[in-house]
């Protein structure tokens, strides 16, 4: 009979291999993108306009700028509104059934598929409000999608501030806003920001919703108003990978993927570093 000790050894080795495999998947994906894409990424690729006829002659500057503008638009729409809502729900709203239901609903909205936000954006922002396919329609659509993520993340950091911090402030005669401003926000601010950055980095990689609200494969100029159509990296690489006839299309799709993933990972790494330092500092 197999002893308990050797059973344990077998299972633990299995568990370890599963973890190693998960990490190996990540490394493989990153390595694959790098090996396949690095060949086309150079200064010209990053800084010149897209050449529609001969794709090897141009770069993805307009797609990079489009994703960048979109990220700014989404932050403007969802970050202030999301943080204020979280402050309202966590600090001002009475803790009753209604508030709990609202919080629950918002957490669940965070899991609604992005394509559902996409068709909503198409019907409401693009068609009903007549914004058409434009940078502003896409920002509003992705803004609605990121709103629940940002509220949930902000709420969590606000909840993590111990109540004794608030009580101490009240005991010294501070008003509610003074308490929030001086004793709650300073301790939750970095947590709120990391949540917001993570949400934003996820929004930057979203493709399905922007297909419907204004992303386009090719325009000859950078968007010069919020009502212009725009190019964006995820949509660009999707079309290159699935619908483009050039023999170089897939290589260029990989190059675009490399730039996009590099950008998103830099944001993510920053967040993880920040969180790590935060956890070390917080002692309560």
């Amino acid at each position: 009979m197999v002893s308990e000790q050797s059973k344990q050894a077998i299972y633990f080795t299995l568990f370890k291999s599963a973890t190693v495999l998960s990490v190996a998947i990540l490394l493989f994906v990153l390595l694959f993108i790098f090996c396949e894409g690095a060949g086309v990424v150079d200064i010209k690729f990053l800084t010149s306009m897209w050449s529609h006829r001969e794709i090897t002659q141009g770069g993805i500057l307009p797609a990079i700028m489009g994703t960048f503008f979109l990220a700014i638009g989404v932050s403007v729409v969802s970050i202030p509104l999301g943080i204020c809502t979280a402050i309202y729900l966590n600090e001002y709203a009475k803790e009753n059934l209604l508030t709990r239901t609202i919080k629950l609903a918002i957490r669940n909205l965070a899991g609604v598929p992005s394509i559902v936000y996409g068709i909503f954006g198409l019907a409401f922002f693009a068609l009903f409000l007549k914004l058409g396919g434009s940078l502003i329609a896409a920002s509003l659509t992705l803004g609605c999608m990121t709103l629940p993520w940002i509220i949930t993340a902000s709420e969590e950091s606000l909840k993590a501030v111990p109540n004794s911090f608030r009580e101490g402030s009240y005991a010294l005669g501070a008003t509610k806003w003074q308490t929030i401003k001086t004793n709650v926000l300073p301790h939750s601010f970095s947590g709120i920001m990391t949540g917001a950055i993570l949400g934003l980095s996820r929004a930057m990689g979203e493709t399905a919703p922007i297909i419907m609200v204004g992303a386009t494969f090719f325009i000859a100029h950078l968007p010069n108003s919020p009502f212009d159509k725009f190019m964006a990296m995820p949509y660009h690489l999707y079309i290159l990978a699935t619908q483009h006839s050039s023999p170089y299309a897939r290589e260029y799709a990989m190059g675009t993927a490399l730039v996009l993933v590099a950008l998103i990972f830099m944001l993510n790494l920053g967040v993880f570093a920040l969180r790590y330092n935060l956890r070390k500092k917080k002692a309560w």
Binding site: F124, C144, P234
Partner: protein, 296 residues
């Protein structure tokens, strides 16, 4: 008497409650708008034809077909396939990180695994097209590798960080008394994990899986690029399928606004909304219960 301080406080509270209510209105508005647009469909197509009809062919001349059963089955096949792959792998990873690995290893590996969630789905779809589908076509001797199986593997990878991360949180949150009591009775570490920790964490793990299921149902880009897009009723895991999300993405740009086809796509969106909402809701309730049970 005019109290400046009080007025300021009132104004600030008013500001925050206004933004809070505004956000709520937006979020409720999204649901109402989808509901109103999608529900039109059922005035012209009976729910039975819609949910149980096996053929989806809105452009057919004369008698268009509006059945989404094959689309629902496509969605469920990929969701099921991805969970079959990610549950064992995810659980093993969570147990390793929470109970076996040292704290330094955990600090390093957990963020690394969570980073998988940061890879945009369109990039994973691209890798599916360029790497995985040719590989699977070769291994199984298929003419091409764009099918439910290939997309299940990739969606499984996407779901993995959700399952590992939440299950690990749940295991770590169990009180240490559980571990100590079990070890004091002479259990080996594996017996302790199997007989004490896993049963206690079961509800939380179920919640993690449900959350993963929600993500798998809603995934669009991977299935759009890798699942094969065939609207025929799938016959095996190696059939090309078209899940609901992919169907919306393919057809929405070509339909006439306000037509029955347009409304029907919104009805599919509504189905997705309701499905993911219910799955997430159940997961949320389970977590809440779990947290209340083990908070001392």
């Amino acid at each position: 008497m005019f109290n400046y301080k009080n007025t300021k406080e009132k104004l600030i509270e008013l500001f925050f409650s206004t933004t809070g209510i505004l956000t709520l209105l937006i979020l409720i508005g999204i649901f109402v708008f989808l509901f109103v647009t999608g529900i039109h469909t059922f005035a012209k197509i009976t729910p039975t034809d819609f949910f149980l009809g096996e053929q989806w062919n809105p452009d057919a001349y004369g008698t268009p077909k509006w059945g989404i059963l094959s689309l629902i089955i496509g969605t469920l096949m990929i969701a099921f396939g991805s969970l079959v792959m990610s549950i064992p792998l995810g659980l093993a990873g969570a147990v390793y990180l929470s109970e076996i690995a040292g704290s330094r290893t955990r600090e390093l590996l957990k963020p690394a695994i969570e980073m998988i969630a940061g890879i945009p789905s369109v990039v994973l779809g691209l890798i599916g097209i360029l790497f995985l589908s040719p590989l699977i076509a070769n291994v199984f001797g298929l003419s091409h590798g764009l099918n439910a199986f290939t997309s299940s593997v990739i969606v499984g990878v996407m779901v993995l960080p959700t399952i590992i991360s939440i299950s690990e949180d749940v295991l770590t949150s169990l009180p240490n008394e559980f571990r100590e009591a079990s070890l004091a009775l002479g259990a080996t570490k594996w017996q302790m994990i199997r007989m004490t920790l896993l049963p206690a964490a079961l509800s939380g793990i179920v919640a993690a899986v449900m959350l993963g299921l929600g993500r798998a149902i809603g995934e669009t880009m991977v299935v759009l690029m890798v699942a094969g897009n065939s609207i025929a009723m799938p016959t095996s895991f190696f059939s090309p399928v078209r899940p609901m999300t992919a169907n919306i993405a393919i057809e929405i740009k070509e339909v006439v606004t306000g037509s029955l086809h347009y409304d029907a796509l919104f009805a599919i969106g509504l189905v997705l909304f309701v499905m993911t909402f219910i799955v997430n809701f159940i997961s949320d309730i389970i977590v809440e219960k779990h947290v209340r049970k083990y908070r001392w």
